[in-house]
């Protein structure tokens, strides 16, 4: 009985090991997330985005300012 239980425990251990191995992506990486994390850390957004964003935001703000000016000049 004891022997049988031990066998079952071994089987469970073996299954867990197989599961761990099947999830292993590449040497040095335990899981998919680790590969993705490494890749993400090495992938920087191009600086053009920040410049474009600044221009777009400036445009938005200047539009808002002129909207206020238009509102006040109509009201006044």
């Amino acid at each position: 009985m004891k022997e049988e239980r031990k066998l079952k425990t071994n089987e469970v251990g073996q299954e867990a090991e197989e599961t761990r191995n099947s999830e292993k992506t590449a040497p040095g990486f335990q899981h998919a997330e680790e590969v993705l994390r490494f890749d993400a850390a090495n992938t920087l957004p191009p600086p053009e985005i920040e410049r474009r964003l600044q221009e777009s935001m400036k445009k938005e703000l200047s539009t808002e300012t002129s909207w206020w000016k238009r509102l006040f000049s109509k009201g006044g």
């Binding site: 599961t19 099947s22 999830e23 292993k24 992506t25 590449a26 899981h31 998919a32 997330e33 680790e34 590969v35 993705l36 994390r37 490494f38 890749d39 993400a40 090495n42 992938t43 920087l44 957004p45 191009p46 053009e48 985005i49 920040e50 474009r52 964003l53 777009s56 935001m57 938005e60 703000l61 808002e64 300012t65 206020w68 000016k69 006040f72 000049s73 006044g76």
Partner: protein, 181 residues
């Protein structure tokens, strides 16, 4: 009139400077998810720009009951899904300029550029082989700033479901990744 509008402009300038901090903190994560969701660096650039512009416009609606990162991811996911669903995206294959991928992997050393580029291509191929749900799940779980609860919230399921699917997603990714070697 001019006196009244001045504080508005000044406060906007202050918001802008605060927003640049938000951009610096989260742009890399947003760009990466967009890049892997769209598989096109130019479109990922556009998407990142658009996501932050949307966030800037809606900043006053951000209630702070979720993390800024989660809020930005929500906008990113919706935006990229919309981009991917457009007729243009479905029907026209755009020629991707190779140098754009190289710029995306921003390294000084040419060998490193090659290694990161190769790894990126393998990752992209593996992700493309997965169902969209698994792909998104892995990308979000890979971000250590997000908890399982936040990933669950973003993918509209329970944290337990996330854990269950994550196991299958990892296995599927590992299978496809080994085939790309």
């Amino acid at each position: 009139m001019e006196q009244g509008s001045e504080p508005v402009v000044l406060s906007k300038v202050w918001e802008t400077s605060e927003f640049s901090t938000i951009y610096r903190e989260h742009s890399q994560a947003v760009f990466y998810v967009a890049l892997r969701m769209l598989n096109n660096p130019s479109q990922a650039e556009d998407a990142t720009h658009d996501v932050f512009l949307k966030a800037f416009r809606k900043l006053d609606t951000f209630r702070g009951d979720s993390q800024m990162r989660t809020w930005l991811y929500r906008i990113t996911i919706n935006h990229c899904q919309n981009m991917a669903q457009t007729w243009y995206q479905r029907n026209i294959l755009t020629a991707v300029d190779e140098t754009v991928w190289e710029r995306a992997a921003d390294h000084q050393n040419p060998l490193q550029i090659l290694e990161v580029k190769e790894l990126g291509e393998r990752i992209q191929k593996s992700l493309e082989s997965l169902p969209e749900e698994y792909r998104l799940l892995l990308l979000l779980v890979a971000d250590e700033k997000l908890s399982y609860d936040e990933v669950a919230q973003l993918t509209e399921q329970t944290a337990d479901a996330v854990r269950g699917k994550l196991h299958r997603a990892r296995k599927a990714f590992a299978h496809h990744f080994s085939k790309t070697a």
